[in-house]
């Protein structure tokens, strides 16, 4: 078969020879050969366990916040290291999220508050499932929103949709190919004869599940084998934390820079379920502070590592629901309702807090206990899918929610 891309490549080489091909031509060649290396990319981060959004982006201008949380509230911004980092006079960042402040100040980080899933469940499992399927209240949705966000194309990369971790999360399941990669360097069958036998037996198997997963795995292995030969060096002065989240984001950056056709990536980070001792002796120590320190450092390392390439990449974070507005009896918080999301990169109009603030007075709270919801998480994700990834078929990405109210994160 004489394909167009083969023709382009050979004629270009005939014209210029291998070593003298000008940069513009090799880029054009690559664009025709591989699935476009400069596609828009969406990275989704799920914070499992229900992050306490009220202590992450703190409504320090809200009196009730301090009344409801005598032991847990982050002190009002006063410039000291343990107080809120003010953003707009009403909201501010948890002091352990200092690295995120730079992204905010650069006008790249958008914050959406009082956002989440309209489903009333306070079950972690159900709520995460709904956030991944993109269909709150519907348990029978087998595929995930991030998989449906991919658009049909003729030639697609086998690593267009990647989850970092040993299992493929619900968000990425569906009819588009998607792979789970735990460690890029390990992603191969080490014995060549074994690899060949396995590839053929899975490709020929009548077992639909194993056949599909096996094919995807071997296609992806071929696509990343060149990356495996090199060690990855992030941009100068960028240090990813050694945590799982830090390492996962570093591997996503590695895939992006290698131009292997990545379009959507997913990673999660657990441990946010702070029923007990959420905050330590001061706001910058304790369980929440430790997780936020890691979170902020990992995200900002990713942002700095990608540099100009961030123009093509959007990162969005979410957590299944928020936590009670009032602290509980064990210096923690129980399961609540609305939460906060972060989004940055890819032309997002940052340096701004989006969403309507519902207030925290008793009668303003959802079921008199939790932050109320004013933005559906699908409004945010839908806008990124439509305006960043360019997928106009929002009704098939979020079935049953075809009129999302975009908040204007992107123009």
């Amino acid at each position: 078969m004489f394909s167009r891309r083969l023709f382009l490549k050979s004629s270009a080489l005939a014209m210029y020879g291998t070593s003298t091909a000008p940069a513009w031509l090799s880029r054009a060649l690559y664009a025709a050969d591989a699935p476009s290396p400069r596609k828009k990319i969406l990275v989704a981060i799920l914070q499992r366990g229900a992050m306490d959004g009220l202590n992450v982006v703190v409504p320090h201008g809200e009196k009730a916040y301090y009344t409801l949380r005598p032991n847990l509230a982050i002190p009002r911004p006063d410039g000291t290291p343990d107080s809120v980092i003010d953003l707009d006079g009403f909201f501010g960042l948890h002091p352990s999220l200092r690295p995120m402040k730079q992204i905010y100040d650069a006008g790249d980080l958008a914050i959406i508050h009082a956002v989440g899933s309209p489903d009333p469940t306070r079950s972690h499992f159900d709520a995460q499932d709904y956030m991944e399927s993109g269909t709150p209240g519907m348990k029978t949705t087998g595929d995930g929103w991030l998989n449906r966000a991919l658009q049909p194309e003729k030639a697609v990369s086998p690593v267009r949709a990647v989850s970092l971790g040993p299992e493929l999360p619900h968000a990425l399941r569906g009819h588009n190919e998607a792979v789970a990669i735990d460690n890029l360097n390990d992603f191969k069958v080490r014995d060549t004869r074994g690899a060949s036998a396995f590839e053929n037996m899975y490709a020929g198997s009548h077992d639909v599940v194993l056949n599909g997963t096996g094919r995807e795995a071997f296609d992806a292995v071929k696509r990343v084998q060149d990356i495996q030969k090199q060690t990855y060096t992030p941009a100068a002065n960028v240090r990813y934390p050694t945590s799982k989240l830090g390492q996962n984001l570093m591997q996503i950056a590695r895939l992006i820079k290698a131009n292997v056709g990545l379009e959507v990536a997913f990673t999660d980070v657990g441990g946010w379920d702070h029923h007990v001792n959420e905050v330590g002796a001061k706001s910058t120590v304790g369980q929440l502070a430790n997780l936020l320190t890691d979170f902020g450092q990992a995200l900002s390392a990713f942002y700095l590592d990608l540099g100009d390439r961030m123009a093509d990449v959007s990162v969005v974070s979410m957590s299944e629901f928020g936590r009670t507005a009032k602290e509980n009896g064990t210096r923690g918080t129980d399961h609540g309702h609305a939460n906060v999301m972060f989004a940055f990169g890819g032309g997002i109009k940052g340096g701004k807090i989006y969403g309507d603030w519902p207030g925290m007075e008793h009668e303003q709270l959802y079921e008199q206990r939790d932050l109320d919801l004013t933005t559906d998480f699908r409004d945010v994700l839908g806008e990124l899918v439509t305006r960043h990834l360019g997928n106009q078929h929002i009704a098939s990405v979020f079935p049953g929610y075809d009129q999302p109210k975009f908040r204007g994160l992107l123009s």
Binding site: D186, R193, G214, N277
Partner: protein, 714 residues
């Protein structure tokens, strides 16, 4: 499943409508041989050579009945010997993980956080000597002695201020050595400071190190080699500090280049091991001594000699649950009471406790042995009660701290204004256990409870707590913490004035609730029949559950005698979990496990580390949740290693396998392999002709079969 769903997704514009399943496959019968294989695949962790013949000889229904009565099966003596020496290291309540139900005296090396709360520890560290003294004055005397025994920095700080009697007591319990002892990092710095040192810029680190007394700086740097590298990067002038460090362990940057360090940190296990093999052994030990994360990951995979050298150089406590996990694996491979082991795995996962959460590391061994194992075939109500009365569960789901709030009195307000007592004044309810008890342990998320029920159940369980972990971390009921008011749970009134019986009543209501009968039956059917089990079967099991007052053995008898269990719909319908895959491979090949640690670490690599599921949901019972590209590749690599006798700690003679793929298939799968599988093997081997590779061995062929789609199903 995923692909089928995917097709449906394409058709139904991405929303999967609940397909009108007829479950007709569950009406189709199996042949006699298939029935035996099906029973072995579900009631055991996979057949061993000779099992099929043994079941045939005994008769299938008699064999199933015997598995349902494990007490009638003499336990394998070799297994007892293997498991007995496994002891979870240190901590309150040291348990022998062996089969014997022995509890040895606690050899205690407590951390401060087991004596007082983590906040109080932080407060002590951050406070002045005077503040420390004020706080210590609120504690009982014995506690002060214990605490100062484990917080040497604080001891040094307050010792001169203690009254002479107390001082003598503290000193006699904790002789102060002449030289400053090597303190653990957590004693030297706050977690925040440690974090900053790990992740801060060279300048920040350098600035901070300069603020420390010289001796302390040296101790810190000796334990944080990566930090000493940073300090050097900032061209610190702290020559003294560096020379002090140099006297001990050489820092990492003198041992390895940055690329090598990077390789060890981020490369695969295999790459790490290959690299270490290129170093002189002493140097490998030095490297692992200063790279704790790498050491933790690679230690179980090292050859025995090198491992011993490293363990001698750096005595590290085992990972929480490590030896317990080894015991679990050995039992799964060797025990003749296979159904019991399958059920211990099932019920532990149903009532999941994560061994890596704080003190639970010391409690999970006792939890499995005393709360789970005795009841796996008993009454559900007893099993539920045993988990509710376990310190492991009360700690894991935070109930031990849940208390009735203090009444609003002048005393309370005085407490609230005192910074040290403020925390005690803030006591109150914690909903975590109450919610998961209904959502995950009994009713199921759609079982018909409300947020109000969650709060009411939480009130009923106030006071269900843990004795001082110092005394061994036992369960206790604290009436002072109990909410005495009236509660209404799922429409049932629990009158005011009750004590521990309030919680017992809740367990009665939940254990006998219709939703519980259905939820538990469905989970069992998911484990033993298919990811989407036929509702008619679940209904019959739930009826048995109801009729027998939650007798698990009776429910399983309904399941194992059903036509659905012995049907085409169930036959080979389950993809093995990572644990099942590894254990069944060891069993099928008749390999001998000499050291279970490397296999335990392989299970983690496949995605489901034993005893370390963070969330209370446990691992999913449905195959689509663990079938992934990364998982499959890891299975294939493991299969090839195992069959070629390359897994450390496992002995296998590859010569026992035939060289003809079809014959090896029958040796390992106990039935014929799919034609595609055999064709693929032949092709891979014939492509190979004329290459410079070594000729194919029977071990390689066996490995290909262990990694085949055929072996991934049970």
């Amino acid at each position: 499943m995923r692909k089928t769903l995917a097709l449906a997704a394409a058709v139904f514009c991405a929303v999967i409508l609940p397909a009108q399943q007829t479950y007709s496959q569950f009406e189709k019968k199996l042949t006699g041989d298939e029935e035996i294989l099906q029973a072995l695949a579900r009631l055991t962790f996979g057949p061993r050579p000779g099992d099929i013949e043994a079941v045939k000889k005994m008769g299938l229904s008699k064999w199933i009945d015997l598995q349902l009565h494990p007490e009638r099966i003499p336990e394998n003596e070799a297994l007892t010997k293997l498991v007995e020496p496994l002891v979870e290291p240190s901590g309150p309540g040291v348990f022998i993980a062996g089969l014997a139900n022995v509890k040895v005296a606690a050899v205690q090396r407590l951390g401060p956080a087991q004596i007082i709360s983590a906040e109080q520890v932080a407060m002590l560290r951050a406070g002045t000597a005077k503040e420390n003294m004020e706080f210590l004055a609120t504690l009982p005397r014995e506690k002060v002695v214990q605490l100062l025994g484990v917080m040497p920095m604080i001891r040094q700080r307050v010792l001169p201020m203690l009254d002479p009697d107390l001082r003598r007591e503290v000193e006699s319990g904790n002789p102060t050595p002449g030289v400053a002892p090597q303190l653990p990092l957590q004693e030297l710095l706050t977690p925040q400071e440690i974090q900053m040192l790990r992740t801060g810029t060279a300048k920040e680190v350098d600035d901070f190190i300069r603020t420390l007394p010289k001796e302390k700086a040296a101790q810190v740097l000796a334990q944080m080699p990566a930090v000493s590298q940073k300090v050097e990067a900032a061209e610190s002038k702290m020559v003294e500090v560096k020379s002090m460090v140099a006297k001990g362990q050489p820092p990492l940057n003198q041992l390895l280049t940055q690329e090598q360090t990077q390789l060890l940190r981020t490369g695969s296990d295999k790459e790490g091991l290959d690299f270490l093999a290129t170093l002189p052994r002493e140097k490998a030990v030095q490297v692992l001594a200063v790279m704790p994360a790498v050491r933790q990951r690679l230690l179980p995979l090292l050859d025995a000699d090198l491992r011993k050298m490293v363990e001698k150089a750096v005595p590290t406590p085992a990972q929480p649950g490590q030896t317990l996990a080894q015991g679990k694996l050995l039992r799964a491979v060797e025990s003749d009471r296979q159904l019991e082991e399958v059920l211990v795995d099932f019920w532990y996962n149903h009532f999941n406790v994560d061994a890596s959460k704080g003190s639970d590391r010391f409690m999970v061994t006792g939890y499995e042995r005393d709360a789970i194992r005795p009841h796996v075939l008993g009454k559900f109500r007893d099993l539920l009660e045993a988990t509710a009365n376990s310190p492991a569960m009360m700690f894991y789901l935070d109930n031990y701290q849940s208390k009735v709030p203090l009444p609003d009195t002048p005393r309370l307000r005085a407490f609230q204004s005192n910074p040290i007592l403020k925390q005690a004044a803030a006591r109150g309810l914690n909903e975590n256990y109450a919610r998961e008890l209904m959502e995950l342990h009994t009713l199921g998320v759609d079982g018909g409870y409300t947020q109000k029920d969650v709060t009411e159940v939480a009130r009923c369980f106030t006071g269900w707590t843990i004795n001082q972990p110092v005394q061994g971390g036992t369960f206790t009921y604290d009436d002072q913490a109990h909410d005495k008011g009236q509660k209404i749970v799922l429409g049932v009134t629990i009158p005011a004035g009750g004590g521990k019986e309030d919680g017992e009543k809740v367990l009665d209501i939940l254990a006998r609730h219709h939703s519980t009968a259905v939820f538990i039956s469905r989970e069992l059917a998911q484990r033993f029949v298919a990811d989407d089990p036929p509702p008619a079967l679940v209904q019959r099991m739930a009826q048995t559950f109801h009729d027998s007052d939650g007798d698990i053995r009776a429910v399983l008898t309904t399941l194992f005698t059903s036509r659905e269990f012995f049907s085409q719909g169930a036959y080979r319908a389950k993809v093995k979990t990572p644990f099942e895959m590894i254990v069944s491979a060891v069993r099928a090949t008749g390999a001998t496990v000499e050291n279970a640690a490397p296999l335990v670490s392989q299970i983690s690599a496949l995605g489901e580390p034993l005893y370390r599921k963070l969330e209370p949901t446990g691992y999913s019972n449905a195959g689509e949740d663990w079938t992934s590209s990364a998982g499959l590749l890891a299975r294939m690599n493991f299969a090839l290693q195992l069959a070629q006798n390359q897994v450390d700690g496992v002995k296998l003679d590859p010569g026992k396998f035939s060289i003809a793929p079809a014959a090896v298939a029958r040796q390992i799968l106990f039935t014929d392999a799919a034609q595609q599988t055999l064709d693929a093997i032949s092709r891979a081997l014939s492509d190979d002709q004329g290459s410079d590779q070594t000729p194919p061995t029977s071990g390689l062929i066996a490995g290909m079969l262990l990694g085949s789609p055929d072996f991934q199903r049970r």
